[in-house]
Symmetry: D2
Subunit: 389 residues, 4 copies
């Protein structure tokens, strides 16, 4: 399906990542945003608040807090809207219970987290990348989500569209993991014409009321939804529920439901994985990175190459589900890894796990507050090239 | 230091794990509990509410929700109390922001999570073990905590004392990760005399006001505290702060503070690790387990041994920090692993990572709602013994 | 019915009015108190919190705010308890919605307001008597309540018992209008033996389920209640409801219900009125007063009598419903009035209205923060005696 | 000062009273509305939410509840806006604490209460007039406000302008007491050109910082304000405060401040009173009424006149301060009163008080849910004419 032109600001713009993210959401068909302002994510909702009156059917509501925001969007989705909420670290922590609910009742929606330095209040105006594991594991119980990390304002636009599309495709909350640098950096953002933007429609059932079971999955493990007002009845509960949506609190239904919720993403992972590889083929060392750090890594790679080291990059675009298979392949080819990220080890652990001890995995990490020092990353590349041999 | 006899219910009791956890807290010197009732953890606070009027200085307060509970205890700690809060999955998710705060400002306190089936509301009255990764990664930003998992009412008592002790030793929030089975199972619990119970006192500074810096670490990376009312001044903020506790929002202070917060646990990990090994020495397969599942695993191991398989067990008592070094040693000795846990893979990933591809790691997981089927675990042991060869 | 000895602290005590109020509540059978601390009322709940563990079935809960407190007690009443909440001005304002609910669904319960200087935060530690009209008119819509004003610690005990008794008799919320002086003043309080204290039991229906209609009034306009757990079904709603308790939103049911709610108090008023008269018979001037001011007025009256003025006092004990008939009788006998109260005119207006222009009505008012100046009241008495002639 | 044309929708419209009230607010310069939707007032804020993006500087915010709404507007006023909140009975009860604050710190602002049947949830969609005494007495402590009651959509526009003007003139919260009928009735509303609408500007001080005292009154008892950002410092507290705005918690400051707050309205009352008289001069009976009931009363009067009774009407436009002097004059001329209002006696008591027993005062009251029966009012007029003679 093509994008609705009403939400598409076609043209060439100079804007920051927060604003571009908002435009991506609008282009993807997002028509409901609930949020509570928090630096450095506020510009996303500020822009949506201003744009909403100009886009038919678009609503912005500032809620009293992040708990309210993260549930308001789910109500909007059941009412037929595409919806997102937007926050940063401390607010993201407050949303954890409702992210689990969204996963449990399979609400397609997008959570934007513009990462700043943490933990706690930390560094409100400075960058971080240390909410990556939280995005995957922050709510209680087993579930799976999708997480995406853009590294430029243009990607904030493009991938916001993809975030909504994946969310609809798999009926799963998608975490849009920006960082303060990408959010506040201004660059050229080209927004194509509406008929050049592919938008995934909601998966509406074709079954009539009576035959339709709201939580009975299709072959791809995803159940269909329905249009509110079309005469279907729905019972939505965070309790373990059967195909009808009614509570059925026993181990069998738990297995049937929760196992499917994790398999829905795990078994479809090869279709969801997305990464960019640069000069990987001939590389002895592969730098794994994402978000703003991937742009610093490019400089460090250039520096290391000047020193004669064969180094390439694997940039994660979809971070969760994690492309463990590709890491294993590269490890099998003897490539050492440097994981460059703005934390003291998060995705690093996933690379280490996926490499299965076949090659060294080094961390080029720091606590945030600024981007990496290029020399420090280059130095890790040198180290990796040495411990490999 | 020995336990204060006023909180110690010396004797041999028949009680469930929830009640035993409460008695352990009292024995450890816990004198402030704030909580909001949630199945299957409610009996912990119910008992504390009844016991509090009988123990001098003990206070229980039912707060309006889990957010309030998780901050009330931190106020109590600054006021000089040992404190804990108690919850289950959905409430635990609501506490995530304040767990990060406790880590950031180094408040010694205990969070009890009696795990039930999740995600979301899930199975309120039935067991789960799927909050294990959340315990480690649930709040935004980088930090480290300690997590402990008891597998009997007696351990609920013993390890609750240890939880408070470790919390004081490292000024870190400790997650006490029970499960519904351990919480509601009744067994004999022997509570020793007070002078047989070792209690770690708060690390009070010996420096006078003026010389004392509240966030300047000792050699073990842990700073000292002071007694409220003794004339010290304190500024506590979740913002990145310097030794004085004042906000200093720049990358250098971030590195100094947050790197220390993670190293405080990582570098001291060998002193914190705690696990039980059974028949590991001659084993070809090692079952890694914890909590109630470790007791089912023992049965499965017996079954497998009858079939002639050499299988032992490594039971995690302290789960976080994770004993990766021990796993690596065992993997190096060629032992295959079966990770038995009540989820679809959490600690499994840590074992897989730590084994570095040296031996197979299999998951015996299920979604909760009941304990494992013994045959299913035994079957995994058989599989592991086969894929090893 | 006689008081339950378990709640009765028989003996001669030296205590302040706040503590005496708490003992009166306990003697009356109050077994549930919910509150949020606020000066100068906090001592009432502090005492109840300490006394509750010693009185079987007694529960104190500190709620997160006054809104929660004022609804928690109503839940307790439906569950079979006698209950009260305790507050001061700002908290009383927050309770207004729930006072209307209590009136609408006829919940017997007691609201204690220890008045301080207002409006707004005003004078937290100093006395006032300016919530008297709010007690009567503070919630939206038409309703009637009973309000009582004690003028000594002994009366805080005695009238607290009466407050509960009237509340049960008429199924109406009773406002217990203390003031900071009476609340914090210490005097001898004699608590009789339990079998000397008359306690009004809850009016339980004798009809079986099926025949019983929870909002069908008896001849005295008051419907009967039932014991929770005895098999009756109840629907309680603040919406206009019929005898069954079901919403019936039309003018006829509104008339049937709301007219009865006001008539329940207005028509029974002669049985509820309660005042003390001193030297009124031969008086030319009658001082109308209540609470702490009545004790200052006694001094002023003595002073005026020394000057040869024939002056008496009518002290309001039950303030609402207002004894307009008695005021009219006295006015008919040509007696002038001085209304002494710690505000700029509240009960004054009721006296003025009730006197029907037959005699002068003067206000001896001030804004609170301290008790009246005796001379100022005496001077008003002189004035009144002059304008009368 | 003339109205800012940007907010004035000049022209002849067909709209209901809720919408007209919104337009009146905009014409008066209101540029900030905070509210929480509640029937039958929701249309006021719905319209403001739609109109705000079209009027420069206008902001609407939906708050999480009425407590938040009633304080948000006060923040906006201190920031330089004219502001109002909008609600109905239950929400009005929740605003009581903040109405007292507004009175205490002299915030010019408007509270719209579109009255429905009460008490409690009552009759959400049907009319009532039983919040009239609450408007005057609903918050704790002594204070005075202004209350206005429109009886048509046109008046909803006109008097909303006046409400803002009076609010600015006297720095006092103004209660705009509509009812469901007036709010939902559609009629022609003529909005004049902006230069025909008189708007009272905020009373800004002409004194420089340093000389200016924010709570020192002018001769008319009203202090001046200042423009935020112009370099003045302000301490605003609900505590009893001195001319500087600092807490001064003693009886003298209480007298100085609170006595002025009530006198500010009482002594200026003759300038504020506003009522409409019809055929009063030759009348034996005067019907006192307001809001929608005044329009029913006109029919009843016509009916009674046909029966030969000389009857006129006094319609209250400003209800508080109450025009007691005018009632006394009319009573002195021997005119009997019928008070027609949609409650069981509220303004009736004020008329009774003001008439000083000189003539009979009858109540034509009912509990709401529909307008009065014309015959019933006419019958009361007949009664009044008889008991007069």
């Amino acid at each position: 399906m093509k994008a609705d032109p009403k939400g598409v600001l076609t043209g060439s713009h100079f804007m920051d990542g927060d604003h571009a993210c908002c435009e991506g959401a609008l282009a993807a068909g997002c028509r409901f945003v609930a949020g509570y302002p928090i630096t450095p994510s506020t510009e996303v909702v500020e822009r949506f608040a201003r744009r909403a009156p100009l886009v038919e059917g678009a609503i912005f509501i500032q809620m009293e807090d992040e708990i309210a925001s993260s549930i308001a969007i789910q109500g909007a989705v059941w009412g037929g809207k595409k919806a997102m909420t937007v926050t940063s670290g401390p607010g993201f922590s407050l949303m954890m219970e409702h992210i689990g609910l969204a996963a449990m009742v399979e609400v397609p929606c997008v959570f934007v987290d513009v990462q700043r330095g943490g933990p706690s209040t930390g560094l409100p105006t400075l960058p971080g990348q240390a909410d990556m594991m939280q995005a995957r594991w922050g709510s209680h119980g087993d579930y799976e989500i999708i997480a995406i990390s853009p590294n430029s304002p243009q990607e904030c636009f493009n991938l916001a569209v993809d975030a909504f599309n994946l969310s609809e495709q798999y009926r799963v909350p998608v975490m849009f993991m920006m960082d303060e640098c990408v959010g506040h950096m201004m660059e050229r953002v080209v927004i194509p014409e509406a008929d050049k933007i592919e938008v995934t429609p909601r998966r509406y059932t074709t079954l009539p009321p009576g035959q339709y079971l709201p939580f009975k999955p299709n072959e791809d493990l995803v159940p269909d939804m329905f249009k509110a007002g079309d005469g279907y009845r729905l019972h939505v509960t965070g309790l373990t529920h059967d195909f009808r949506g009614y509570p059925a609190m026993n181990p069998d239904t738990q297995e049937e439901l929760v196992h499917r919720l994790v398999d829905k993403i795990r078994l479809n992972a090869p279709k969801i994985w997305r990464y960019e590889e640069i000069d990987v083929k001939d590389a002895d060392v592969v730098v794994v990175s994402y978000g703003i750090t991937s742009r610093v890594a490019v400089e460090a790679i250039a520096l290391a190459r000047k020193k004669g080291i064969k180094v390439g990059m694997l940039r994660l675009i979809v971070v969760w589900p994690f492309p463990e298979q590709r890491i294993l392949e590269l490890a099998g080819q003897g490539k050492a890894f440097v994981v460059a990220e703005m934390n003291y080890g998060q995705i690093f652990y996933e690379v280490e796990r996926s490499a299965r001890g076949k090659t060294p995995v080094l961390l080029a990490g720091h606590g945030g507050g600024t981007v990496h020092n290029i020399d420090a990353v280059a130095q890790k590349i040198v180290e990796a090239s040495q411990c490999r041999s």
